[in-house]
Subunit: 674 residues, 2 copies
């Protein structure tokens, strides 16, 4: 349980620091916070009153907060539900609110919180502001020998960006209602406010259409949201101040539509639901009226179902192959003076815009939809990068960033955290800056299932939530990691499975044996990054097992991060943590004895055997290298001959996982050899 | 992690035994099983074909089994969904089925399974039989150095009882859809086939009524199933061969109804949703026609919603106070020659029967509904005991048992396991025996929340499932415990949280610190049993925190059970495990050093401090006692003066938990002193 022991160490450290600067456990970090020095002591009589307006969503939100506070402290509070009937001037937490929040962009989500030794006051313009503030209150809970308290402070807070989203791809792997609901709860906990549902793909059409039931009946293997369920999701999110809007990705990414409507495709059918991953050829035919007829009917139906003002039409990754190969389309282009596929898609998009406008919706789409003649209230969703976002902002278009927030690509929280839609030092006019609305975390679902999705989204998404909420000048990575770990544990309470399923998956991998040894091993590893996993001889499909070590392993190993960090310190000439590093490497090495045994008991684990051997050798080599470095002598003459094969081998992935500090050791060693 | 280490020991032992008798991991244990000695080797080409009929539910069930097998083995099977189109004579697992199962009592659920080295064959009369057999196949998975296999065997299996149910009280604490769904999955895994939804109570009316929306709108705090959701539950269960039937508990347990309909009560309103636990006075007025009008309309609506042939009217725990105090009711009784409340309720029940009969339903109700004039197709649901079940069976009535299956009362699995609705040695005629249809596990919800309910229902319900499915002669408690532990881990894969939430709850109790020490402590304890928890000065309500040590602690501590067991062996003169016992007690004692520290860091844990001190002293005393016993000498003269206060104190509960072996040590010590 090394990680745990290490964690205690860090926590105790934080606890000590917390005594002076308790805001360390807040995430997203507020805009302004001033400690008052005293605390509000929680007693079993704690209660909440709401003044100003009567809003059922807010009353229920506050009631849930009361239950969460009661759950954490074990205190038996006297209030059941917070209503107008139970409103007292003597209440411990008094909430003042002016009006109900509206689920639109640029809505006021600011709040002011004051915690003194005698009472707590939370003030906001809108109910959404109150909700954000209530989450901050929950994070202000502390304890000492006298009991539980809320840290005395005055907090003035508001979001930096108005669009702080999470996109869930529910198509490539189906995500049932409970996945969506618990992720909405987690979003609210870190003040995200937009849920983007990616509802149609090559691999599935995931929403009931009453107009064209064949779409979901033939295109989903039975896995889709009924319209009632969608209403439930929308209501559940709205009650937490979160917008929900749909994406129907057209004209590409549409294989699943063509199972029911082969006549809409640009090449003859029949079509089957796609089971593989990649960019596929099937694309809607933009030159026939039937296409627009069906889309018009469907979008009109869906526009009525989703109250949000935005509607996403996708538009990405049309490879153009079916268009190029279709004689009628080529003829149409010639006749209408359309010079390339990009122009053809622009024509298609204009028709989409018309349909949406008629339905009172504003269009949002991926980078590719951008074309100069579009109205200025559309939103460009950038998967290609800040550069493109800036470009459209300069041309007067609003945009949101997802490039750098692809949470399924298993990159470090640090990378996402430092990725800013509008860095404070970027050369943008005030108007241009205002057009950058924020960003969205995208959870693409090739490699996740309902079992693993939480561990891919959380806790790293909390770091992005902070990027989108907190001041742009806040960029302290170490503080972020400390706070993220804390928030991660709090998210668990809401039902998130990002930690809970780890043990289960490891136990299953051992055939229900003791998995403590395996855990010590997997705690060090990380799944391979970006799209590497598709390029290692294993062909994944929608029905592959996502239950192996690569799926159980956390996106970021904290122990490996620490090892990497100290090596980097050494390379910068700072030796103060060298002893800790040697201890860590020794522990990594020693763990492998127990691992050896466990890797043999279970056939599914055998692919990891070379990895354990490599870890043993790499850790040993690392210790030697540190010793050489500290001795300030040159390594022995033939040392490099011995170490090169070890380093080369240690950098190889096994079972689609990698040793996260292999490259760093290699760099360090090569510095020594040089 | 003592428990885990102990578990490895047990598992390895089982694995060795498994080599000869692998059926040890099956639960419920089949009627007949013969090992063939060879194995069917699972390869990455494994596939399934279904012959006989085309049944979508079964195809989906088999597809899920294929995915679960793939998930456990990490093998990339080639089949996506099992359909008629993918049916091959060369398939590895060939399923033969005659007809679709019907969701009625006494339906055929038998199956025959043959696993040879070359193929697997599963044969059943009905699709339900196939589903039961598929779960057995999943439990037959083993592995060795050559890879994964299904143990070669011929299995002939069928249930002993036709009614194998789980009742979930979704009223006292609301249980959202995901709780119900994952529990249905778990039910299917252990071959349970009836889900009984307890839908109305003093604390909530939990289902949408379109006829009387005020019932659910005013009586549920917003927590109810819509009719669409109920249909989803029914369909989800049906696809797993599980019946779903509703209970509307009348005329008592009806406070929540009266919020909307105070005029139906036997005392004037207004009424509020009950927040406390107990038996309450509010009771429907059986002497006014309005009562029957409302019930007729509602039951007619609900009878159409639930396709099952049974409909539960509750009928329990009417304390009669409102009836006694109501002048009009007293007058009515006098005028109609009704001599007591029991007769009055009998009159009420006859009206209920009439309503149900007109709606094509058969009545089921708790013991109290029994009266001689009822038709013979009703079912008596016995919460009072086997005696009453036998009595009604003798009078020609069918019955099911729940007495002894109250899973919320935190009793040992052994107790439930040995509780038989119709013990093999009971004096019943064949006809009488046939009238005992089975039993139902009841999960009452005073002390559980969605967070803890799984840990109260599972894994102990698996033992009851075996009692209701397997031969009545199978009563080996040790084998049951071994197999139950194994099944418990498999249930986790289906999303059950009975293990997963343990760590989360412990971590929350420590304020997100390292909880390893706390776990070692709580692993030894058990929550107090039966209704004791309500009688220790803590007043629980529906909104109390169910997050303390008593809620986190497992219903049964396996380490404490082992300690108790060896003490019992010693008392029977068997000393072979004395050394193990001393080791266990020493470990218990040593654990307390780490615990001390952790109990101080968190205010919510402070109530447990005396318990840790008591454990230290009790373990020390236990070791001394064992030594004295082994020395065959009498204890020192004044020893009893020293030990009495320790024993007395150790038997006291703290924080509503108890030391499960305190009483046993006391007995042992008193034997020595005597």
């Amino acid at each position: 349980m090394y990680i745990l022991r290490l964690f205690v160490f860090i926590t105790l450290l934080v606890s000590v620091m917390t005594a002076q600067t308790p805001q360390f456990n807040l995430m997203p970090y507020p805009k302004e916070i001033a400690l008052t020095g005293d605390h509000f002591r929680l007693t079993k009589d704690f209660d909440i009153s709401i003044f100003g307006i009567e809003d059922t969503d807010l009353q229920m939100y506050a009631s849930r907060v009361l239950r969460r506070l009661s759950g954490r402290t074990g205190l038996f509070f006297p209030q059941d539900y917070i209503t107008n009937a139970s409103r007292y001037d003597s209440s411990d937490l008094k909430i003042y609110v002016e009006r109900a929040g509206k689920l639109v962009i640029n809505e006021d989500e600011s709040y002011y919180l004051s915690i003194s030794s005698s009472s707590v006051m939370l003030k906001a313009q809108t109910t959404f502001g109150v909700m954000r503030g209530l989450e901050t209150i929950l994070q202000m809970l502390g304890s000492d020998e006298r009991g539980y308290y809320l840290t005395g402070a005055r907090v003035t807070d508001e979001p930096r960006f108005t669009w702080r989203g999470l996109m869930i791809d529910v198509c490539r792997h189906w995500m049932p209602m409970d996945v969506v609901k618990r992720n909405i709860d987690a979003m609210a906990a870190v003040k995200l406010n937009v849920l983007h549902l990616h509802l149609s793909e090559d691999q599935g059409f995931r929403i009931e259409s009453k107009k064209y039931p064949q779409l979901h009946l033939l295109g989903s293997d039975g896995d889709y949201y009924t319209q009632e369920e969608i209403k439930t999701i929308i209501q559940y999110a709205a009650a937490r101040g979160i917008r929900v809007y749909p994406e129907f990705d057209v004209p590409g990414h549409t294989t699943a539509w063509f199972v029911a409507f082969p006549e809409l495709a640009s090449a003859p059918g029949p079509y089957k639901i796609e089971r593989n991953w990649g960019v596929f050829d099937p694309t809607m035919n933009p030159t026939i009226e039937r296409t627009y007829e069906v889309l018009d009917t469907l979008f009109t139906e869906m526009a009525a179902l989703f109250p949000d003002e935005y509607f996403h039409i996708g538009g990405d990754e049309n490879n153009g192959k079916q268009w190029n190969a279709n004689q009628d389309i080529q003829k149409f282009m010639k006749e209408n003076g359309i010079k390339d596929n990009h122009e053809l898609q622009a024509m298609f998009n204009k028709r989409m815009l018309k349909i949406l406008t008629r339905n009172g919706k504003k269009m949002i789409g991926w980078d590719e939809i951008f074309q100069p003649e579009l109205p200025k209230d559309i939103v460009i969703h950038s998967w290609r990068g800040v550069k493109y976002l800036f470009e459209s902002a300069r041309k007067g278009y609003m945009g949101i960033l997802s490039n750098g927030y692809y949470i399924d690509l298993i990159q470090p929280a640090e990378y996402h955290y430092l990725n800013d839609p509008a860095p404070v030092d970027s050369v943008l006019t005030e108007e241009e800056r205002a057009r950058i609305l924020g960003g969205e975390v995208t959870s693409w679902a090739e490699l996740v299932t309902p079992e693993t999705i939480d561990s891919r989204i959380w806790p790293r998404t909390a770091a992005i939530a902070e990027r989108l909420w907190s001041p742009g000048t806040l960029r302290d990575v170490e503080s972020m990691y400390q706070r993220m770990e804390y928030i991660s544990y709090q998210l668990e309470e809401l039902g998130l499975l990002h930690i809970k399923n780890y043990d289960m998956m490891l136990r299953r991998l051992t055939g229900y044996r003791d998995f403590a040894g395996l855990k010590k091993f997997v705690d060090i590893l990380e799944p391979v990054k970006i799209y590497t996993r598709h390029r290692q001889g294993v062909k994944y499909t929608s029905y592959s097992p996502y239950t192996r070590v690569a799926d159980a392993a956390r996106p970021e190993s904290m122990i490996s991060r620490r090892i990497r960090k100290i090596f980097e310190e050494l390379m910068a000439g700072n030796t103060k943590n060298a002893a800790e590093l040697k201890l860590l490497l020794k522990e990594v090495k020693e763990r492998q004895t127990a691992v050896k045994e466990i890797l043999q008991v279970s056939p599914v684990l055998r692919e990891m055997q070379p990895m354990s051997e490599n870890l043993t050798k790499l850790a040993q080599l690392g210790i030697e290298a540190v010793d050489i470095y500290l001795s300030k002598k040159k390594p022995a003459k033939n040392w490099h001959k011995k170490v090169e094969p070890v380093l080369l081998e240690a950098e190889k992935p096994y079972g689609q996982t990698e040793i996260p500090f292999a490259k760093t050791v290699s760099e360090f060693v090569h510095l020594l050899i040089k």
